[in-house]
Symmetry: C2
Subunit: 212 residues, 2 copies
DNA sequence: GTCTATATTTCGATAGAC
DNA sequence: GTCTATCGAAATATAGAC
């Protein structure tokens, strides 16, 4: 039996992901990945097509984990309150965003890569499911008419806050944690259905929200 | 007279900035900059220390222009309304953010670089002046007590919106322009002084807001 | 100050033996 | 499947003549 397998695609992806977070995107080099899994560089090319392919696989892995985490957060919150109201939807959004933020703190490099302007193609399909959940919840808070701009407002705020946080852009002191909660509550209030209008409460099925 | 100057630091920075926007950060190579100003690569090193130095100079140039544009926008709005009220401060903020967004649309690569997590050091000092203006205006709208978290909420939303816009992340159709105005008005309302509290109107002098 | 020429470095990717 | 050996492609930066 010549040359048994000494590594696997999963091990390569895991090592690559760890190196990505430890050293940054540009510092992810094939040589180090090979060292990490205990083989020589050329052996990697039996499992991944090239470096771009490896990055794509890493981001798919990250995205799957993020989706699972946010879904779990929403399910856990829903169990605590069995009503489906604007109030519970707001609670779901708080929980979802908190998990989202926590994930970004744990995976700052991957988060930045996922939300960067030249986002790597291919890792986007799976993100649509999580986005659908978000749009559904926002529709319950903001009403179906304003659901899309309201979701964009909330997601823009959250992404912007987290990005600035990771960039170390909050340099004036103050309590960043408090600023997150301040923003969360104010934005949630801001996107609520305007009180003067009386539309029938209607739960719209939401298409995929790539926006998130 | 041997070898008269054929280029200048300003020309190199201008060419570099143009190439940066046209081709992206990574594609900014010294060879192309040299071609653009009509000299050979080694001649660049008489004016700039290295590539990082050139990028730093480019971002300083961009920051100066952005600061001038936002300052001008606020001054123009103040001329139209000579009162200094929460109402006029809100108008100033709308104008400031509109100019900020327009600048990002015109200089997407530089904007991304300025707001990216691994922000290039050195181009930050000059940004503090513009931030001071923003914090002053937000204090007039939100009240001095909540000025800092309110400013962080507004800036996070704007940065997040613009970043997603530039990334092409708004893929569900709808009117992105309307979403900007929706978010702007809702966030402005959200950060307003909460009505139940009656604090004396007091204009706090604002320290530099690197946050923006 | 500008040039030609080249050193240096780094890294992705492949060929072919085992 | 893994290895040794090596190619090839950038790009930065410098040396030294003019």
């Amino acid at each position: 039996m010549p040359a048994p397998a000494q590594t696997s695609t999963a091990a390569i992806v895991a090592a690559g992901r760890r190196l990505l977070e430890e050293r940054g995107t540009d510092a992810l080099i094939m040589r180090d990945v090979a060292d990490a899994v205990g083989v020589r560089t050329p052996s990697l090319y039996k499992r991944v097509r090239n470096r771009s392919d490896l990055v794509r696989l890493i981001l798919e892995d990250v995205t799957d984990e993020l989706t699972a985490a946010t879904d779990a957060a929403v399910r856990a919150t829903d169990e605590a309150t069995d009503e489906t109201t604007a109030h519970s939807a707001a609670a779901d959004l708080r929980a979802l965003m908190a998990v989202y933020r926590g994930f970004a703190h744990t995976n700052p490099v991957a988060y930045t890569l996922l939300t960067s302007p030249q986002a790597v193609a291919g890792a986007t399909e799976r993100a649509e499911r999580a986005s659908a959940t978000l749009l559904r919840l926002v529709a319950q808070v903001a009403g179906p008419h304003d659901a899309l701009p309201a979701a964009r407002t909330l997601v823009a705020w959250a992404n912007g806050f987290i990005t600035m946080e990771l960039a170390g852009a909050f340099q004036l002191g103050g309590d960043v944690e408090q600023a997150w909660h301040f923003g969360m509550e104010r934005v949630l209030t801001a996107i609520q259905r305007e009180p003067r209008r009386h539309r029938p409460r209607q739960e719209n099925a939401a298409p995929g929200l790539k926006d998130a």
